[in-house]
Symmetry: C2
Subunit: 526 residues, 2 copies
């Protein structure tokens, strides 16, 4: 019996707390709260669930409830499954609020993910569905030591390699700590034995020389890079590079980008589906063939003691009123939209729905005539950080070292600059991204081909990118948002401690279907 099967058995028979105890005992607790899909069974004959939204949360709910024996139907605003799980490819058309329509001109095989674009190794729920649905994955390169750090106010605006700033920052701080250790200034804090090991470890971490100094030499070059790296034959001897001063590194603010790859959600190994994140939504959609009504814009949700009715119209034919009914309803509509739809739930849930603002973000995909970032700059995947409004340039984590065109993420904007870009036409957003990016990659000017820009505040199906929870809102509203209100329950990244992440949507849906099923089975009736 696999450990996971054992856990599932404990979970089914003794509940979550016992499961968690068992997980701790087996040493799995630190890995994931995800316990495998819930394996619900024994839905009463004819029991039905109406699901609103065919994003990941809605489709996970539909997948599991259908398996448990429920009659399931899903209403979806868009003409496609996935919601924010979405890939824009050549020939795709997208119309945003305000009426601007973009017709993507990317070459075949090239794409941009306007929404989620990476999957951490510990997002087991999502990874398990990828396995079940047969969606192949490839690594997403988050940290690239050869990508740039760029600050218009440092080093005359000249981009620096991540590896240099990283090595120099570490070199200097380990040198400082080694100095005070040798000057006996740590004696009150660290035992003498530990100080000896500490010095050893600092030398290694920082690339210090035998005197614990961070200086020009092979040890520093082996971290920050060479002026001339080692090669073969005659005149192949390496030439060391010159470290920057601590003051310049600190003052550049570039150190702020150095820990991104250390945060739990961005640690190695990260993944992306081969061919675009949208492959997951597309596969889910195929697996739920016939259950999803597309182009269905929900305009009202009403429950009574017998069930829940959603009123909707065909989004292509405004005014065409239709109704759908379920004994229960799982509503995954983003709060930004849901707060505008009449729905008779209690004050606690209604307050929660209205209290959570959504993040404004903008993503811009740019196609170039050649992969100059690889050919000229030796940058294969990863992210360049800048203080320009575009924030990031992210290089594609696929088709490495190939010939031909390429699409990169030419901007990932949030905060004020996202609002500014949202106010522009898509064409203007693309133009600005090219203009800004050319400060880092002068090749932009000659190699730019075409682009698309998605501003999430103008996306008709979300009007925002993801729920932004303050600590106060979390304390006041989260539990209320997640309760089953009569026959209605909410699911989605907004109903999770993982806002913006697909795993939040997946685990929230699994949590909700399990609770609804428990209630149905306990009640003995639908």
């Amino acid at each position: 019996m696999k450990r996971r099967d054992l856990l599932r058995m404990i979970g089914v028979s003794a509940g979550g707390a016992a499961m968690y105890q068992a997980m701790s005992t087996l040493g799995l607790a630190a890995e994931s709260p995800y316990r495998g899909t819930p394996k619900l069974q024994g839905a009463p004959h004819g029991a039905s669930v109406l699901i609103l939204g065919a994003g990941l949360a809605g489709m996970v709910a539909a997948y599991e409830l259908r398996q448990a024996g429920y009659k399931v139907q899903v209403l979806e605003y868009n003409a496609r499954p996935g919601g924010r799980n979405w890939t824009i490819r050549g020939d795709d058309t997208y119309t945003e609020l305000g009426g601007y329509t973009q017709h993507c001109q990317f070459d075949r095989g090239l794409y941009i993910n306007p929404g989620p674009w990476r999957i951490p190794y510990h997002h087991r729920g999502l990874l398990d569905y990828c396995k079940k649905l047969g969606v192949p994955l490839e690594p997403f390169v988050q940290i690239n030591h050869n990508a740039y750090l760029h600050n218009t106010k440092a080093f005359g605006g000249k981009p620096q390699r991540y590896r240099s700033i990283n090595a120099d920052y570490r070199g200097h701080i380990t040198e400082l700590l080694a100095k005070v250790t040798q000057q006996s200034k740590l004696d009150a804090l660290v035992s003498k034995d530990d100080q000896a090991m500490l010095l050893d470890s600092l030398r290694q971490l920082g690339g210090l020389d035998k005197n614990y100094a961070y200086v020009t030499g092979p040890s520093a070059s082996n971290r920050r890079g060479y002026d001339k790296p080692p090669g073969g034959g005659l005149s192949a001897k390496p030439v060391d590079s010159q470290p920057l001063q601590l003051h310049d590194v600190l003052n550049s603010n570039m150190w702020r980008a150095l820990t991104e790859g250390e945060m739990f959600e961005f640690q190695q190994t990260l993944f992306q589906p081969v061919g675009g994140m949208g492959r997951i939504g597309e596969a889910f959609g195929r697996s739920l063939d016939g259950l999803i009504h597309y182009n269905a814009k929900v305009t009202a949700i009403h429950q009574d003691e017998h069930g829940v009715t959603a009123t909707y119209e065909d989004s292509r034919r405004p005014g065409s009123v239709r109704k759908a009914h379920g004994d229960w309803c799982i509503c995954t509509i983003p709060l930004s939209i849901l707060s505008q739809i009449p729905m008779n739930v209690g004050a606690a849930m209604a307050d929660a729905i209205g209290a959570i603002p959504y993040a404004a973000t903008v993503k811009i995909g740019l196609q170039f005539k050649r992969r100059f970032w690889e050919e000229d700059d030796d940058i294969y995947g990863g992210i360049t950080s800048t203080d320009l409004p575009i924030n990031n340039i992210s290089y594609p984590s696929c088709d490495f070292n190939s010939r031909g065109k390429g699409v990169l993420l030419g901007g990932y904007l949030w905060g004020l600059s996202a609002y500014e870009f949202t106010a522009m036409t898509p064409e203007e957003r693309v133009r600005r991204a090219v203009e800004y990016g050319s400060q880092i990659h002068p090749q932009y000017k000659t190699e730019f081909d075409n682009g698309v820009a998605v501003s999430w505040h103008r996306a008709p199906f979300t009007m925002g990118c993801f729920a932004t929870w303050s600590e106060e809102a979390r304390a006041k509203h989260y539990e209320n948002l997640c309760q089953i209100d009569g026959r209605i329950a909410l699911a989605g990244e907004h109903a999770s401690y993982l806002p913006a992440w697909q795993e939040g949507a997946v685990t929230s849906a699994l949590d909700v279907v399990t609770r609804i099923h428990q209630r149905v089975v306990a009640g003995g009736v639908a």
Copy 2:
């Protein structure tokens, strides 16, 4: 005109020094000493070069010299191209010195690379040939935050996650440096303004709290991992984990593994060819179709003023003496073998050939019935480090999240333990690797399927893994090894500042063909 074309032009017309100046000016110098393939042309009619060895160095030389118009032939000991560029797949057979024959039982699509297994982003020569030969690449995962660090003498032998040791080590050292900064003990070393930025940066690097302490809390958990990570719905609240003490981290010696991904050759992004490293050698072999004589064991090399003659026998028919001739000879035979072959070169080169010992390494590939490292342990690619003789367990960087069997690198041995394993039968090496590995992954015992083990000291075509240059040997012998001696020149990783790396072989070959061509053209005759 691309920058690289400009550089090539400068290189051709004005030589390497001018090229390097130009590279510096263009900001390319730090990237690579590789200047693109040399684009040799104008070989005198009928001029010929005999190449010994169809490893990467020999095949690069053949590829470029053929292009320049030379008559080229290559003698190769093995029945396949590639040399140490080699992938063992199911159904492959390998006989080592001593007579042991292994018949690999891996399933279709699974493999192990006994030799090189990763390509750094800055190994431009090799990357360029991959592009030219149409060899697709995928990322090689070097650092995996969720892989294990294991020391039999620490934490009761219980493996720790890389992320925990990494976070705790950084947390504690940044806390220490923050403390002495706040106690004014850095005043003599760092200005007050810089100290303020330093404190900010230390908090970020270490995940310190607002008082610059490394304590249990969201900031530490977001780096070292959670006891219960955030999820969705009710009871989804994360539970923080408890950092280890500095003494325990230092004493565990596990910090020694924390900087591997920071070294120049192991920085992101690393690559592997899709389907195994041997894909490069195989593609080279196809591109040189008809030029390579396989199963040709060179027994003597003789030069006179007119050219070079190699005596060889068909390795399948000992005693079958044959001869091959070239105006020039590029010999890529490993020094471990070459030092045993009679060859009339000067004392300086002969001394160099005899002076360089070869590393003993052993690699062991293990097939398991399921990918338990992914399914149970959430480890996708990357390397677990241990103080056991196996040193490493490296998980495959392909077929992530897939069902079915998998092959991992169950041991990469060097030094004393490599010699010990070399003395064993292949079966015994595999048995030991399974036994040791099961201390880290108990699943080994039930899931093991079959394995292969390559001890490089028993490889008939190399008798060792790679040239190990001491600083003294480098100073005394390197230049002599790389000179053209009469009509003979050497190439290979041993003739480079990149021992063990394929890029050393590639750049050494490019260096040699350029010099030989210059000499031929300058001499006006072959």
